[in-house]
């Protein structure tokens, strides 16, 4: 197991290096002068030159690159122009918001996705199956920001049940947190529910056709026990790999959902950074999210190896 973990982490090193290079390169391609934005009102050309100097932007690219890595090694992603705070600091400040929303959404996804997938597989070709699959299809086709907006129109504007946006930290007021995150979590979950339901259904169908499940049934084991003990345990393996994809979809989906519901999470931080041309923030934020996803994928692979001992890493 340890070998698997080490191997997987070692395999991620070149990717991480490339990710940092890409982020560095992307920001150097941006036209326009960052120092003007940083200098603020009526800053003189000399002041702007000073800012460029302080940021090291007047140095050759390879010097900037070395400096970029040196800063990264210290966990320093630069300083946001708009917020006037460290990028790492502001990202970590907002991380709990995004994580709590993603976790809520993930719970909805797992519950609805796996349950409807199993039901559909057990009642293959029945109306339950068809209804579940139509629901799943609609789920993967509805734009989540549009769904969010329509929910706001219905539940907030017309019915007045839930707030139109904003965020209450769950540690302060759990009910308030539920009120502010339920609509975003649902609109965010729908795509993933659809995906998961479809995958659960197809893997369950495959597993249910396997000999050992048939044997278990033939032995007269109650159906729920067969499903629970034999089928689901085996179907879980491919599902775990999908959860990796789901988490990464949740994180990208959150970018838009947080903007629609004005939730001050990492996603909104990044979109407003992009709209505000807050280059250090864009650079640091992109890198942060990419590294987060690389980390999640490593975890998923490890979980996969742990669940399915047949998986071995021989390289390649």
């Amino acid at each position: 197991m340890l070998r698997v973990i080490l191997h997987r982490i070692a395999g991620a090193v070149p990717v991480v290096l490339l990710v940092t290079l890409i982020t560095f390169g992307l920001m150097r391609l941006i036209p326009g002068d960052v120092s003007a934005a940083l200098g603020g009102v009526s800053s003189t050309p000399e002041q702007r030159e000073q800012i460029r100097h302080n940021l090291g932007l007047d140095r050759p690219y390879y010097v900037q690159l070395v400096r970029w890595y040196a800063d990264l090694a210290r966990g320093d992603l630069g300083r946001s122009i708009f917020l006037g705070k460290g990028v790492t600091e502001s990202t970590f400040e907002r991380l709990p918001v995004s994580l709590s929303l993603s976790a809520y959404s993930l719970i909805i996804t797992l519950l609805l996705g796996i349950v409807s997938g199993i039901l559909a597989a057990l009642r293959q070709n029945s109306w339950v199956d068809q209804a579940a699959m139509i629901f799943a299809m609609i789920g993967i086709s509805l734009p989540n920001f549009w769904l969010g907006l329509m929910m706001i129109v219905l539940f907030s504007v017309h019915l007045g049940w839930l707030p139109t946006g904003g965020y209450v930290p769950f540690q302060e007021d759990f009910l308030g947190w539920l009120r502010t995150t339920t609509m975003p979590a649902i609109s965010l979950a729908l795509l993933q529910v659809g995906l998961l339901a479809r995958i659960t259904r197809s893997t369950m169908l495959e597993v249910l056709r396997q000999d050992y499940v048939r044997t278990a049934r033939a032995k007269g084991l109650p159906n729920y026990l067969v499903v629970w003990k034999h089928a689901l345990a085996n179907a879980l393996i491919p599902i775990v790999t999908v959860v990796g994809i789901i988490v990464s979809l949740l994180i990208s989906g959150a970018v838009v959902t947080e903007t629609v519901f004005s939730i001050p999470g990492v996603g909104q931080l990044l979109t407003s950074a992009i709209l505000n041309r807050d280059y250090p923030m864009i650079q640091g934020g992109l890198l942060f999210v990419a590294l987060l996803l690389v980390g999640i994928n490593i975890l998923v692979d490890i979980a996969y190896a742990w669940l399915d001992p047949r998986v071995r890493y021989d390289g390649g």
């Binding site: 890409i22 992307l26 609609i138 549009w146 903007t259």
Partner: protein, 300 residues
């Protein structure tokens, strides 16, 4: 790892080129009998025909302001209503459909060409594989929407830039699928035989490998079309797509957001059109997958 095993059988069953022509008809027939393919095709044609013919027939400028007819709800005079500037929403939404389809098509074409090229190179020439796939992995480490946002932020707002950004974002995903098929095909007997017979690399790729690797690519491209349309709408909605007042669906919805209370149709209709288009493409993709490549799993 998982999908290369999965596509092994699907790809191998396609066999050598000789049997291809007659099977093409059969595949077409099976597609047309496929339920979700039928529905998908029907919906897609509906959107495409509206996008082509409605602007041609009505000739209403989607950006024409008319202060006297503001906030008209959908009805007989204005089928989709008007917005806060009195612009015809019918005209704006069908122009939006046109833009969505044009952008989606370009992204698909660019991916078909460059994704196939990269995937084939990577899968066939083992020395290129490692560097290309590491780059691929690195690009895929960024969530699609964020990378697209980042690239448009660098390139600036315009339709060609949006196409370029989306093509770049989805290229690694296409390349990876092509590569998986090529890897498998390279080991098949007929390819090994061709190599032994001394056929040139390009000839083998062109004649033996790529035609047989196309099934998963076609399936992927139909889903890609859906993602491209969806992501483009998201970019414009966030204010980083084509510059306003270009009537992309995302732009219309972003503007309509200010009036969601009084004029909810401004958001509801383009969003519905977007959902129908994406649904159509997903259904088409499902049909294609079931018929062309039954073992393929849902790809991201």
């Amino acid at each position: 790892m998982a999908e290369s095993a999965a596509s092994l059988e699907g790809v191998a069953s396609h066999g050598p080129p000789a049997a291809r022509a007659s099977r093409r008809w059969e595949t077409g027939g099976r597609l047309l009998r496929h339920r979700s393919f039928q529905i998908g095709l029907g919906l897609f044609l509906l959107v495409a025909l509206a996008a082509v013919f409605v602007p041609m027939l009505s000739g209403v400028d989607p950006n024409k302001l008319s202060m006297r007819t503001r906030f008209e709800p959908p009805g007989s005079e204005f089928l989709f209503g008007t917005d806060n500037f009195g612009r015809s929403q019918l005209s704006r939404v069908v122009h939006g459909a046109r833009l969505s389809l044009v952008i989606g098509s370009w992204v698909v074409i660019l991916n078909a060409v460059f994704g196939t090229l990269l995937g084939a190179l990577s899968g066939y020439f083992r020395r290129l594989d490692n560097p290309l796939m590491r780059l691929n992995d690195a690009l895929m480490a960024f969530p699609a929407i964020l990378l697209a946002l980042g690239v448009t932020a660098v390139l600036g707002r315009s339709i060609p830039n949006v196409i370029l950004a989306l093509a770049i974002v989805y290229l690694p995903r296409t390349a990876r699928i092509v590569r998986a098929s090529v890897l498998v095909l390279r080991q098949t007997e007929f390819v090994q035989a061709a190599i032994a017979a001394g056929a040139g690399h390009w000839r083998i790729l062109r004649r033996h490998i790529l035609p047989n690797a196309m099934a998963p690519v076609i399936v992927q491209l139909s889903f890609l079309f859906a993602y491209a349309v969806l992501t483009e709408a998201t970019l414009s909605f966030l204010g980083l797509g084509a510059e306003p007042p270009t009537p992309t669906w995302g732009n219309i919805m972003a503007e309509g957001r200010n009036y969601m209370r009084e004029a909810p149709w401004i958001i509801a209709i383009p969003g519905g059109a977007l959902a129908i288009t994406v649904l159509a493409l997903n259904l088409l993709g499902d049909g294609l997958r079931d018929v062309l490549d039954p073992r393929l799993k849902i790809q991201q």
